[in-house]
Symmetry: C2
Subunit: 168 residues, 2 copies
């Protein structure tokens, strides 16, 4: 039994590099799959699917600082936006998310993406196509990973030229 499990994990390690270009643990594969499903859900404008892998009490903070509490609120807010500004939008993921285990069964993912084809914002300005940087905090409970907290920020590419972390 134990050997069979080891065999399965070993097989997973052989398969994962082909998918991702790097050896990934079972947990990384599961988290990556959720992020992929969420991107896909955005592009199908299916907001039930978009929130399917969140906890019921998920918090979501968007790029303009709106703070939505609970899965149903997060779903409803996104559903309204996908009938308006995001109705014809497409999420394009910029790179492989960075995953960091900060505690047992808690992983923080930092995801970069870009929204193409969005409508105008309430201010009348176009939605930024600079890209967003999104924090997703994943928690594993009863062997299932879910998003417990999300926080999103638009990347300011002009400001990035003056990153103080890169100052000499």
């Amino acid at each position: 039994m134990r050997l069979r499990l080891v065999g399965l994990v070993f097989a997973a390690c052989l398969v994962a590099p082909a998918l991702a270009g790097a050896v990934m643990s079972e947990d990384e594969v599961a988290i990556q799959a959720i992020i992929d499903r969420q991107t896909d859900a955005w592009n199908r404008h299916d907001m039930d699917a978009f929130v399917a892998d969140t906890t019921s009490d998920v918090d979501w903070i968007n790029v303009v600082g709106m703070h939505w509490e609970g899965r149903e609120t997060v779903r409803r807010a996104h559903a309204v936006l996908h009938k308006g500004i995001f109705a014809h939008s497409r999420m394009v993921r910029a790179d492989k998310p960075e995953l960091r285990e900060i505690a047992p069964d808690v992983v923080v993912a930092v995801v970069q993406n870009r929204i193409e084809g969005a409508g105008l914002m309430p201010s009348g300005e176009p939605y930024p196509t600079n890209g967003n940087i999104l924090t997703l905090v994943f928690v594993k409970k009863d062997a299932v990973w879910r998003i417990a907290h999300a926080h999103n920020t638009t990347i300011d590419r002009d400001a990035a030229q003056h990153d103080p972390a890169k100052s000499p």
Copy 2:
């Protein structure tokens, strides 16, 4: 021994309401104290103190989407900003942080604050005084709480008028 511990916790519960206006657990008191110390450190422009309660591998994402990895990088980036745009700034906290335990020994805090007296941004525009909404992910290890991840976003007060979660 056990009773003495219960006594201490009971005493803490008697003291905490006087400080915070609500019954707070020992963990909430500790986390609140870290948030207070960080506000104080910002206002004294002491960036060693500002990062003192972070983990060594903390990630910090700022309001323009810069992503700083590791305590020393976070300290250095803030130190550069506190010699420039934030040299004469003051952080004013808007309200009591919302704390949510998402896993054992993991708490997400959502903190609202406002930066007053900041200088101009590299674009030449003034730094927004609308306020920021900051996620701090706290992890307790060896009985000590530390910030493992931070993500900050400027609040757009105009956009807030059109919050889709409040749409009928």
